[in-house]
């Protein structure tokens, strides 16, 4: 299924987890070419994964400028280290972890309160336009604590495991699962029935 963003970018809307798990042969070849110094391959990798990286960062940090910074820094960090990457493995999960790490770092740098406050109390002046998310989900996500919001995105958008999320957030995997269940319950209760369906 294809869609498009407001700036005309073609967007694949197939399940992210599925795409991350499916390693097409040409992706491995792209990585190998990039490791050998092919700039075209490097560009192809960035283009292929930019949208996912930006989406994930934006949904976690809820700040437009920060999301662009995080996506860019994550991509460049990956390219710098791509020579050490095992080309037999899919690259998407690796990129996702970089994005998740940097998003968590951003939240921990003291920005979480500002983002949440803007979203909850002055949406018209916030850097996040509530219209950019389905309204109900935007409101419900905004009411979640920043860590819980990150857990939801990391688990259900980036397909990270509880162990991986726990390592990122420095908490036990069991705690991650508990907070995830609680966050989903809050979201489910807040969302309108038609949204859940």
């Amino acid at each position: 299924m294809n869609g498009s963003t407001s700036d005309g970018e073609a967007v694949l809307t197939a399940p992210l987890a599925l795409r991350a798990g499916v390693r097409s042969a040409d992706e491995g070849e792209l990585v190998r070419q990039a490791q050998r110094g092919s700039r075209d391959a490097v560009e192809a990798i960035v283009r292929r994964h930019w949208h996912e990286a930006h989406r994930a960062a934006f949904l976690i940090v809820r700040d437009e400028a920060a999301a662009e910074d995080i996506a860019q820094e994550s991509m460049l960090a990956a390219i710098r280290e791509i020579e050490r990457f095992d080309s037999r493995r899919p690259i998407a999960p690796w990129l996702h972890r970089i994005v998740a790490n940097r998003s968590i770092d951003w939240l921990r740098a003291g920005n979480r309160d500002a983002a949440a406050t803007e979203l909850l109390h002055s949406p018209s002046e916030a850097s996040v336009d509530p219209r950019t998310l389905p309204a109900d989900l935007a409101e419900a996500m905004g009411r979640l604590p920043a860590d819980d919001r990150a857990i939801v995105v990391l688990r259900h958008l980036l397909d990270l495991s509880s162990d991986e999320i726990g390592a990122l957030l420095s908490m036990p995997a069991a705690t991650v699962r508990t907070r995830l269940r609680r966050a989903l319950s809050v979201l489910r209760a807040d969302l309108k029935p038609e949204t859940r369906s």
Partner: protein, 184 residues
């Protein structure tokens, strides 16, 4: 409990456009793309033989050399045609490059690469032989030089050749003497 509703909600959520930043990131990524920085060691560690293209890790020289072992000479001769005196400083199969220092016999013109004009079909038709970059050729040559120096320790200092990797990427002998002069 199904979680499809939150997954689809997150997937379908619109995010602000980021095309401009994406293009800037692409440009930056192209600028920092790896420049074949993998060491030649990493490459030759694969089960294949790496032969630097330009010099083929074989440097013609009119300098004192060491006699090749029969095994090494035989191994090399299966890939490139050898004339006579040869010194194998590194052999494949142990993570090393195929580095061969060849010494031309009397009358050899050092300005001409050794083996020029000779049939090289065994080399060209060998699927395990790949060309290498100039940097790899230099690295292989330097490696060969290091190995070569280690083999020269037994030679008296006044007769020991002074070797270096020249600007061309080939091993140069700074105090080369004709073969017949050495034997006197």
């Amino acid at each position: 409990m199904s979680t499809g509703w939150i997954e689809s909600g997150l997937r379908e959520a619109h995010v602000p456009p980021s095309g401009e930043r994406r293009e800037r990131t692409v440009a930056l990524a192209r600028a920092i793309a790896p420049q074949s920085r993998r060491s030649w060691h990493a490459r030759v560690a694969r089960p294949r033989i790496l032969v630097p293209a330009a010099a083929l890790a074989i440097t013609a020289m009119t300098a004192p050399g060491q006699a090749a072992t029969k095994e090494a000479a035989h191994l090399v001769s299966n890939i490139v045609p050898l004339r006579s005196h040869a010194l194998v400083v590194s052999t494949p199969g142990r993570g090393g490059s195929l580095g061969v220092i060849m010494r031309a016999g009397p009358g050899h013109d050092p300005s001409k690469p050794f083996g020029a004009g000779r049939p090289n079909d065994p080399f060209r038709n060998n699927p395990n032989v790949h060309p290498a970059t100039r940097a790899e050729a230099r690295a292989a040559t330097q490696h060969s030089l290091d190995r070569l120096r280690a083999t020269l320790r037994g030679i008296p200092a006044d007769r020991r050749p002074t070797l270096r990797v020249g600007p061309s990427g080939r091993i140069q002998v700074l105090n080369a003497r004709p073969r017949h002069a050495q034997q006197r």
